[in-house]
Amino acid sequence: MTCPYLAYRDESDDRRFDEPRAYCTAADRFVQPMRADICNDRYDLAHDRHCEIFLEHAGTDGGATDRRTGNAADGSETGGDE
């Protein structure tokens, strides 16, 4: 089941896209395509097990984990997946 906080939008604030893109209404931002795999429960991924944003927003324990993972401004990874 798709994440209940997923929406597809073609604009938000100062950003506009030709095609609607994955937008997280819990985090109030467009999400990376790799995160959209989780939003959509694609490839046997599940938002309620694999998304720390959902878990934190839903008040479960997943959002409290250590996030020392990335180099982007929002703390998420930007490196390639080859």
């Binding site: 959209a36 795999d37 991924l45 993972t69 490196g79």
Partner: protein, 280 residues
């Protein structure tokens, strides 16, 4: 490969990683996503000095796909616009099932190269890209069948063990070509001594490519140039030109590393020279 190879003047192969599968235009509007955008950018980085383009495929909304048909559209666009650049398909990523990981190998013609992740890596807080030995072996077998040169992706030193294991299990066409990757998380910590150790732990005669994520891209490309290896740059791995300033394009990142190589006295390989070095 070593500093001696640098001194002997082996031409430098530059790979441009154009788009990747992790982030999209929500991170930088300069990232190409559609086949036509990727085709245009491939031509631009080739003109700037790249011999290889590392390719991922996206849906129209920017999300990743492994579908053969989308890779075919991208390859067709690249071949229409670029002269002679070597196409390297990605087979890596997220939690995609094994069957999907094979699909990028099935274009017509097959890509000359494809990536082969050598083991697991963590993503975010609850996701691991597994890359089991079974998947590595099945992807490699199909690459052999289709005449595709594997680019062995070494995300950490444990994956160097996996390179040696793959060599024991399979006949890899020489020269073995491995990309040494440095950065946060599951990657090898980006320190120069770790780079030298990784080079020392490669199989005898192996060539290496150098990949630093984020702000490590330029320093590691420079070290890779000096240590006699090859280099990969591009918006897949680093979206900044310098701190706080987004790169304008993939070509801008290629142009910078060409300038570095030229200053260091290292010739930049043409696609034809790269094919000879890589045994394509």
């Amino acid at each position: 490969m070593s500093y001696a190879d640098f001194l002997e003047g082996e031409p430098l192969i530059i790979t441009a990683a154009l788009t990747g599968g992790v982030h999209g235009k929500e991170t930088t509007p300069n990232l190409p996503e559609t086949p036509e955008e990727i085709g245009r950018v491939a031509a631009a980085v080739e003109a700037a000095g790249a011999a290889v383009v590392h390719v991922h495929a996206r849906r129209p909304n920017g999300e990743r796909t492994f579908e053969t048909e989308r890779f075919q559209e991208i390859d067709d666009a690249i071949r229409r616009r670029a002269d002679d650049v070597i196409i390297q398909h990605s087979t890596g990523g997220t939690g995609a099932p094994d069957d999907a990981r094979h699909l990028p190998l099935r274009t017509d013609p097959a890509p000359e190269m494809a990536s082969l992740d050598m083991g697991p890596l963590n993503r975010y807080d609850h996701l691991t890209s597994e890359n089991t030995r079974g998947l590595v072996d099945s992807l490699h077998a199909e690459m052999v069948d289709r005449g595709i040169k594997p680019e062995l992706e070494v995300f950490n030193d444990g994956h160097l063990n996996e390179v040696h294991g793959l060599l024991e299990r399979s006949d890899l066409a020489e020269p073995v070509y491995a990309t040494l990757i440095f950065g946060p998380g599951t990657l090898t910590p980006p320190r120069p001594r770790n780079f030298l150790n990784a080079i020392d732990n490669l199989p005898e005669g192996a060539l290496f490519n150098t990949l630093g994520f984020g702000r490590h891209q330029l320093p590691f490309a420079t070290m890779g140039t000096l240590f006699g290896g090859h280099v990969r740059v591009g918006l897949e791995d680093n979206v900044y030109y310098r701190q706080g300033e987004l790169a304008e394009s993939n070509a801008q990142l290629v142009e910078r590393v060409v300038r570095v190589a030229t200053e260091l006295g290292r010739e930049v390989a043409t696609p034809e020279q790269a094919r000879e070095i890589l045994g394509l």
